[in-house]
Amino acid sequence: MDLPITITLMDIRAIVPELTLICVGLIIMLLDLVVKKKDLVALAGIAGTVLALFGTYKLYGVTDTQFVFSNMFVLDGYANFFKVIFYINLILTICISIKYMEIEKSSFGEYYALLLFATSGMMIMASAADLIVLYLGLELMALSTYILTGLMRKQPRSNEAAIKYFFLGAFSSAFLLYGISLTYGMTGTTNIKEIAFAISTLGIADNPIMYLGLIFMIVAFSFKVALAPFHMWAPDVYEGAPTSITAFMSVGPKAAGFAVMGRILMGAFGDMQAQWVTVLIPLAVLTMATGSIIALSQTNIKRMLAYSSIAHAGYILLGIIAGTPEGLTASVNYLMIYTFMNIGAFAIVIMLRSKGFQGENLDDYKGLAKSHPVAAALMLIFMFSLAGIPPTAGFIGKFYVFMELIGSGYTPLAIIAIIFSAISAFFYLRIVVYMYMKDAEQEIVLTQSPTMNIALAVTSVMVLVLGIFPSFLLYFVRYSIMGY
C-alpha cells in the first residue's frame, strides 16, 4: 500500500521559518527552566525571530508561487510579505515587553514562547492554501493570545479579558467551522483554488448555501480583525491585557485576519465578489463609525487606542473592498505602516507605566512635553501618523487606500471614510494638546530600557521615513503581491 501522504524535502523547506519559530519557542520553554534572567530568554526569542526572518528572506522569490504539502500550504510573495509584518510585530513587541513585564511582576519565560507560537500560527494562516490549515493556524494563534491576555494572573482585569476573549473567540471559531463545512458541502473541497474552480464550474455563486458559508467565514474573520459589530470584545480585551500584548494583538492577529480575508475572498470567492462587497461595505462604514465616534469619549488611553484600532481595521478593509490587486496592495501597505505607528504609540503608553503608577489615563499625559520632551515629541509623531497628517506614514497609508477606492468607483465610500478620518483626528490631537498645552498634575517617571529605546527609535524613524519616502515600501508590497 502506498502512503496517501508523501512529504518531500521541498515541503519541509517551505515551512522552515515556521519550524524555526516553533523550535525556538520550545527551546525558550526549556531555557526558562534553568535561566533566572528573563532578559536572556527574550533575547533568545529575538534571535529566533531573526533566524526565521532570514529563512523567509531565502525563500522570497524562490519560485513565483509554490504549493507544498499536497497543495495545502502556499509560499508566495503575499504570504512572505505578511510574514515580514509578523516578524516586525514580534520583534518590536519583545523589545517593548522586557522591562514592562518585570514591572507587572509577570515576567515568565512562557510569555516569549507564547508570542513565538502565536506568530507561527499567524504565519500558517498567511500561507494557508486550504481551509483546514487555515483553521489550524488560526487556533494556534488564538489559543496563544488567550493565554497571553490573561497572563497577569493577579489582576482581575486581565483574567476577565482572557475569559471574554476565549469565549467569544470560541464562538467565532464555531462560525468559521460552520462556514467551512457549508462551503465544503457545496463544493466538495476545502482547498482554496479548488473552491474557486468549483464555484465557477458549478455556477453556484448565487446559491443561498454558498452565501451562508461566505457570510459565516466573513463573520469569523471580522471577529479576528475587530470589525463592528463583531468588535465588542476588543475594548475590554485590549484594556485588560498586558499593554505589550495589546500592542501585539492590535497588529498581529489583525494582519493575519486580513491576510486570510484577502486570500480567501479574492482567491476562493473571486466569483462572488459582488456578494462579499455587498456585505463588507456596511461593515466597513459601521466599523469606522464605531471606532472613530466611541473613541472620542474614552478616558483610558488603552481603550482609546482599542477603538482607534477598530477604526483602522475599517480603513484597511476599504482596500479589500476596492477588489483589485492594487487595492489589496494599498491595504497591505497600510498594514505595514500601521504596525509601526501603533506599536510606537503603545510603546509610549508602556513607558508611562512605572512601579505603582498605571499611567493609562489621558490626564496622565498632561504636561508631558515639559517634563519629557523627547517622549512627547515621539508620541506627537505617532498621533499625527495615526490621525493621517502628512508628512507621516499614516497619511500615505490612508491616501493610497482612498485613491484605490476611488479608482474602483466607490467615491461616496471614500468620502465617508475621509469624514470619519477627520473625526478621529480630534481624539488623537487631544493627546497632543494635553501633552503640549496643559500643566502636569503629577510628576511622571518614564520607565526606560535599551530595547525600548531601540523599538521607539525604529518605529518613529520608520513612521517618518515611510511618510517622506513612501515609494520604496510600496514598490516592495507591489512586487510581493503583484510580482512587479
Partner: protein, 123 residues
C-alpha cells in the same frame, strides 16, 4: 456531484429534528397541564424531609486536580494515537517511525517542562 443533492437528502434530518423537539417539549407541556399544583413552604425546601443545606453548594477543588486531569488527557491521547500507529507500523515504515519519534519528542519536552515546573509535586 456535490451541490446538487441539497434540499431533499437532508429532509429526514429535519423530520427527526422536529420529532425530537416535539417529544421533549410535549412531555414538559403535558406535565404542566396534567399535574396538580399545590405548593407550601415545606414542599419547596430542597430536601423535603432532610436538613436544610449549610454553606455554598459549590466547593473549590485545589487547582492541582485540574492539572493532573489535564496531564492525564494529554498522555491518554498520546497512547490513543500510538495504538493505530503500532498496528500499522510495518506499512508506515521509516516515515511513520520518524513522525512518531518527533511527536513523542515534543511531548517529552512538555513532560520535562511540567516536571521542572513542579506540577507533579503534590505539596
Amino acid at each position: 456531484m456535490p451541490g446538487t443533492y441539497i434540499p431533499t437528502d437532508y429532509f429526514p434530518v429535519l423530520v427527526i429534528l422536529l420529532i425530537a423537539s416535539a417529544i421533549g417539549l410535549g412531555a414538559l407541556v403535558a406535565g404542566i397541564l396534567v399535574r396538580p399544583r399545590r405548593p407550601y413552604a415545606q414542599k419547596l425546601t430542597p430536601y423535603e424531609s432532610g436538613n436544610p443545606p449549610i454553606g455554598e453548594p459549590r466547593s473549590q477543588f485545589s487547582v492541582k486536580f485540574y492539572i493532573i486531569a489535564m496531564l492525564f488527557v494529554v498522555f491518554d491521547v498520546e497512547a490513543v494515537f500510538m495504538y493505530p500507529w503500532a498496528v500499522a507500523y510495518d506499512k508506515l515504515g521509516i516515515f511513520g517511525f520518524v513522525e512518531m519519534m518527533l511527536f513523542m519528542f515534543i511531548l517529552l519536552i512538555g513532560y520535562i517542562y511540567v516536571w521542572k515546573k513542579g506540577a507533579f509535586n503534590w505539596e
